[in-house]
């Protein structure tokens, strides 16, 4: 139960940051917090679930899927920070300053 409380709290803290922070760096960091909460939950359940017959193979599978989330988060951060560099050149780094899209 304590793990659920922790990861749920971390996820909600990250969501609060995503919805309230207007700075792009802070917004990206908040997304990382949400993803981190998910990875803790996934990794922990892959090694601690006893009633479903957790084995070394299922723990290794959990590692694989957690690694997938890590890679997705790293790719998201790379693209997000590249977009940030472009927006900095145009003098806009707050989400409420980005009002137009192309196409």
């Amino acid at each position: 139960m304590s793990l659920l409380l922790l990861t749920s709290a971390l996820f909600c803290l990250g969501l609060y940051g995503v919805l309230t922070r207007h700075d792009l760096v802070a917004l990206l960091a908040s997304v990382e917090v949400m993803l981190g909460a998910g990875t803790i939950q996934l990794a922990a359940f892959s090694t601690t679930l006893i009633a479903t017959g957790t084995s070394a193979a299922s723990a290794a599978s959990g590692q694989g899927y957690t690694l997938a989330i890590l890679v997705l988060a790293a790719a998201e951060a790379a693209i997000g920070l590249a977009l940030l560099v472009v927006l900095v050149r145009s003098g806009r780094t707050r989400t409420d300053q980005i009002e137009e899209v192309r196409g």
Partner: protein, 165 residues
């Protein structure tokens, strides 16, 4: 007892890092708070007997993504117009919504709580991870590699686009 204390210490570190990320207005403090959070996550991986993931977390995030954040911050204009926490009505509404989601998550996931233990019941080293990643999960592993390469190329293309204009 030691396991419980370790778990509580890791929880405190991750919660403090996450709280710092959403509350601080100074960009360098935000990066330090994010680094604290990510190191806490790596600590949890080590606690749950997943050393491969712990090392990957430190290398990829603390060593890679955080440095990327620092590079972006070098070109970043500090946000002096930031509102204070919970000063706007919108922020209070979001806080209530997040608290509601928190309660919903706890109620929904509660059946899983009884199935799990605090400490790991199995350990899974790098050999087991390699056997899975290069075995049944090989397509996923290859797809992730291709995705990272695509993200790298896209990042260079996006960031370098302004140089030509």
């Amino acid at each position: 007892m030691t396991a419980q204390l370790t778990w509580l210490a890791l929880a405190a570190v991750t919660l403090a890092g996450a709280a710092g990320v959403i509350s601080t207005r100074e960009i360098m403090r935000l990066v330090i708070a994010l680094g604290t959070f990510l190191l806490g996550v790596a600590g949890f991986f080590a606690f749950y007997a997943l050393p491969f993931l712990a090392v990957a977390q430190v290398f990829v995030y603390v060593g890679g993504v955080l440095v990327l954040f620092l590079f972006a911050i070098m070109a970043h204009k500090p946000d002096d117009e930031g509102r204070r926490l919970l000063s706007a009505r919108f922020d209070a509404g979001v806080a209530v919504t997040c608290a509601g989601l928190f309660i919903l998550l706890i109620v929904t996931l509660q059946p899983l709580a009884g199935l799990a233990t605090l400490a790991p019941v199995v350990s899974s080293g790098p050999e087991a991870a390699a056997a899975v990643l290069l075995g049944p999960q090989l397509p996923l592993f290859e797809l992730l590699g291709a995705l990272l390469l695509a993200a790298l190329v896209a990042g260079i293309a996006i960031a370098g686009k302004g140089d030509d204009e």
